[in-house]
């Protein structure tokens, strides 16, 4: 097996991974950096983010306000020391991107423009039309090309971490084009492999978001934190889950039910605001969890519109006018016209909530370090806990930058801490075991299960039992079913036995990752007997700070369901309070 020696290996070349790589290259040009990604960097799912990135820049804003919005938006499950660090660093990181050429939208005087976003009290979301993530990703990727010390391993699929002597010292990865497995020997490893939305059938997430990074760390003994918090975005296209950015509502789009009523006022987000004059943090600019939940209630009441793709409510943007839509929301218009054959300039667009984002992920501290020395994580796959029980729109893109860089700095600190020499035979033995695991998948000829079959069952289970509203009974069913699927996974047979670009193999590995993540979601949700943020229980409808102002930590077990432990939330200056999104009480 080829051994590639490097100082820092980064798994994932999305926003977080690229930011980390650049930070490393800038800190010390002599560092050897291996940037490993299962797709070419610009294919990473950061490119799909539309709305923007939050950071305090305007004079009417303050760090405290951003802090309060984030912590309240997260239903007090955020670690407040992490949030504070995040808020402080955010403007610097966004400004850094500006200096790297990101085409942020501008005010007439040439300064960076900001737009309103759900759950934010002040306009503070930097945006590049409605392709913000796309521009952030491409700016980062293109900037990374400046640094010769960033060695890219594009289309390499990370399989297992190598942990010896209690330290993470590298990983194995499959070179997809050749089918060869390589051993990366690294003094530090940063995981930035993105989210796991593909556990669900109806999602805004791309095909690559299969929780691989979470599963990597999980199997290496790092707990997954708060996995039960899965965010639904309220406005997805009903036929394929394509996202219509929150910017639609930020710019003044309204949500109405089948009777044309702006129903959000019936769910504690009223009173109604004038059409086309959005008021921050109320009505359509309430937080995502609340909006998605309101949809669920409307559907129960029979107030939704029936469409060929299921029940919907309507997103009406007609009053914005063609010019504003073209200028601020060109992608949204294009997506509606292309994929739904409906023009938001002329008609209201049917939408429904769609799985969007994983608040939970690899447990890290405020320095992006996991409990395993030498292993760091950042981006959507990580959970430093700035998002708590519900992420505010536009905080994630900023998080990629802030904690991508933080992970890089921590990795360097780790390098400088005087590591003992690596035990090469031990690492090679682990790498060999990893290779054997893949080979076994190939050799398994008697298997009866298929990737597509198991995946379908998993998705169905998650949608039915772990959706917007949950009950103990359903969650128990989900736990059992996922455990069963994990068992059956051992009996999987590959149809494709070829080495070159074997996507059947990749999908099998991705399915493995998703099943592991899904189990952590289901078990965490079953055991969290309260309703908080994106986790809503019909059998425990109230938030329970007494028992559950805590992070869930799920520990991996190869055969059994995860062991669950709890960890106190860090509270510095904001005591849990009421989340208020009614404009009236201001």
């Amino acid at each position: 097996m080829e051994i590639i020696k490097t100082d820092v290996a980064i798994v994932g070349a999305g926003g977080a991974g690229l930011r980390a790589a650049i930070a490393l290259a800038e800190a010390d040009p002599k560092l050897r950096i291996a940037l490993i990604s299962k797709v070419y960097p610009m294919r990473s799912h950061t490119c799909a983010a539309e709305g923007g990135a939050a950071g305090v820049i305007k004079s009417d804003d303050s760090l405290d306000l951003h802090f309060n919005d984030t912590v309240g938006g997260g239903d007090w499950l955020c670690d407040q020391n992490a949030v504070e660090y995040f808020i402080n660093e955010a403007p610097k990181e966004l400004m850094q991107l500006e200096h790297w050429g990101c085409p942020w939208s501008r005010e007439p005087d040439g300064s960076v423009a900001v737009r309103p976003f759900g759950g934010m009290k002040i306009k503070r979301t930097w945006f590049a039309a409605d392709k913000s993530g796309f521009h952030i990703l491409h700016t980062l990727f293109q900037t990374s090309l400046k640094y010769p010390s960033i060695q890219r391993f594009d289309e390499y699929y990370a399989i297992d971490l190598l942990v010896d002597d209690g330290r993470c010292q590298g990983l194995t990865a499959l070179e997809i084009r050749s089918g060869e497995i390589k051993q990366f020997q690294a003094k530090s490893v940063i995981i930035a492999a993105g989210g796991a939305g593909k556990m669900f059938p109806f999602t805004t997430n791309g095909a690559i978001k299969t929780g691989d990074g979470m599963a990597l760390a999980y199997r290496a003994g790092v707990p997954l934190k708060d996995m039960e918090f899965v965010q639904y975005h309220p406005t997805g296209l009903p036929n394929n889950g394509i996202l219509l950015t929150e910017g639609c509502r930020g710019e003044g789009g309204i949500l109405v039910n089948k009777d044309g009523r702006r129903y959000l006022q019936d769910y504690g987000m009223g009173p109604e605001t004038p059409v086309g004059q959005p008021v921050l943090k109320t009505m359509e600019l309430g937080p995502r969890d609340r909006l998605s939940q309101s949809f669920w209630h409307e559907q129960r009441k029979g107030n939704t519109v029936s469409t060929p793709w299921g029940e919907c409510v309507l997103l009406d943007m007609r009053h914005l006018g063609e010019k504003k839509i073209n200028e601020r929301l060109p992608l949204v218009r294009d997506l509606c016209v292309s994929y739904l054959n409906m023009d938001p300039v002329k008609e209201p667009i049917p939408i429904r909530p769609v799985v969007h984002y994983c608040m939970g992920g690899i447990h890290t501290d405020i320095k992006a370090a996991t409990p395993v020395p030498g292993l760091f994580a950042a981006g959507e796959c990580a959970c430093v806990s700035i998002n708590g029980a519900n992420r505010l729109g536009s905080n994630s893109l900023t998080e990629l930058l802030v904690f991508g860089r933080r992970a890089a700095l921590s990795a360097i600190e780790h390098l400088q801490s005087g590591l003992s020499a690596s035990n090469d035979p031990a690492l090679s033995a682990q790498a060999k075991a990893s290779e054997d695991r893949i080979r076994a998948l190939f050799d398994q000829s008697a298997g009866t299960e298929t990737v597509a079959g198991l995946r379908k069952e998993m998705m169905h289970t998650m949608e039915e039992n772990a959706g917007i509203y949950r009950t103990g009974e359903e969650l128990q069913r989900a736990c059992e079913k996922i455990a069963e699927l994990r068992g059956r996974y051992a009996n999987l047979a590959l149809t494709d036995k070829s080495k070159v670009f074997n996507t059947d193999l990749m999908q099998a590995l991705e399915l493995g990752s998703m099943l592991e993540c899904a189990e952590a979601v289901a078990v965490g949700a079953r055991d969290r007997k309260e309703s908080r943020g994106a986790h809503q229980r019909l059998d425990f409808t109230a938030r329970d700070d007494q028992n559950f102002l805590k992070h869930t930590l799920a520990y991996y077990h190869p055969k059994e369901p995860p062991r669950i432990e709890y960890l106190d939330v860090v509270i510095t200056k904001s005591q849990p309070g009421v989340r208020d999104y009614s404009g009236a009480k201001k």
Binding site: M95, E98, H99, W100, R106, K131, Q142, T503
Partner: protein
């Protein structure tokens, strides 16, 4: 809107381990009219033939992974609507690139070319982060905005006959990306990029076929960018040689 329809999906297959050359394989796929070709491929992968290899991710025409030749035309699989085609659809890997396997092409050449044009901001003036942003008016932004929209899908390379004939050609997307930074009011790196793009293998290999712009799914108009680079380079040359007293 959701009526079903059967189509014959003819896909170019190539497995380097068993095939000496590519061959076609036809699948019968029940389609819903609002599907895109990528949905049909996914149907095949999930239900008929797990060995079919192709790239895709976002399903919303932004990641740039899913470029294929669809009925001979370079297209994004996730933006080629079934209802725009008859009952027979042929899918092949992007033209002008070597076939790795099935619909997967070898794209290193493109990536290397993109990297070679210094596609990053080379600031006119140094400015610390703490000094705030480089001011840029909406008009200055608009000047280059279109060229930032490139998703690196390489459809333009598949469409450009000159790239097919002369593989050394830097090609439409890479040169457009250089042009994007050259046109950015914050940038001062044009001279460095000219060294790469104003060359025989650079912009001068382009004969303005214009196919690149016709197939670009993001309306980047690379053909326009290339002609603008030619005009500017020509003005450079005449200034330098006929009016050496004019400072560039």
């Amino acid at each position: 809107m959701s009526e079903e329809r059967q189509i014959q999906l003819e896909v170019l297959r190539y497995n380097p381990e068993t095939d000496s050359q590519p061959r076609y394989q036809t699948y019968t796929v029940p389609c819903v009219n609002e599907w895109v070709v990528l949905d049909a491929l996914n149907y095949v992968k999930e239900n008929l033939d797990p060995t079919l290899s192709y790239r895709w991710s976002c399903h919303m025409a932004v990641c740039g992974s899913c470029g294929y030749m669809i009925n001979g035309e370079p297209k994004l699989g996730c933006k080629a609507f079934i209802h725009e085609y008859g009952d027979h659809i042929r899918v092949e890997p992007l033209a002008n690139f070597p076939i790795e396997r099935d619909l997967v092409t070898v794209v290193e050449d493109f990536i290397a070319k993109l990297a070679s044009v210094k596609p990053y901001l080379i600031p006119k003036e140094d400015k610390p982060i703490s000094a705030g942003e480089f001011k840029q008016t909406p008009a200055e932004l608009k000047k280059f905005k279109q060229y930032t929209l490139c998703i690196n899908c390489m459809l333009c390379y598949a469409a450009c006959p000159q790239y097919g004939l002369v593989p050394e050609f830097l090609g439409p997307a890479a040169i457009s990306m250089a042009h994007r930074y050259n046109q950015d009011s914050r940038d001062g790196g044009r001279d460095q990029r000219q060294e790469v793009i104003a060359t025989d293998e650079g912009v001068w290999e382009c004969s303005f076929v214009g196919a690149c712009s016709e197939v670009c799914p993001k309306h980047v108009d690379p053909a326009g960018a290339l002609q603008q680079v030619k005009v500017a380079s020509t003005i450079d040359w005449y200034k330098e040689h006929l009016m050496p007293w004019v400072k560039k």
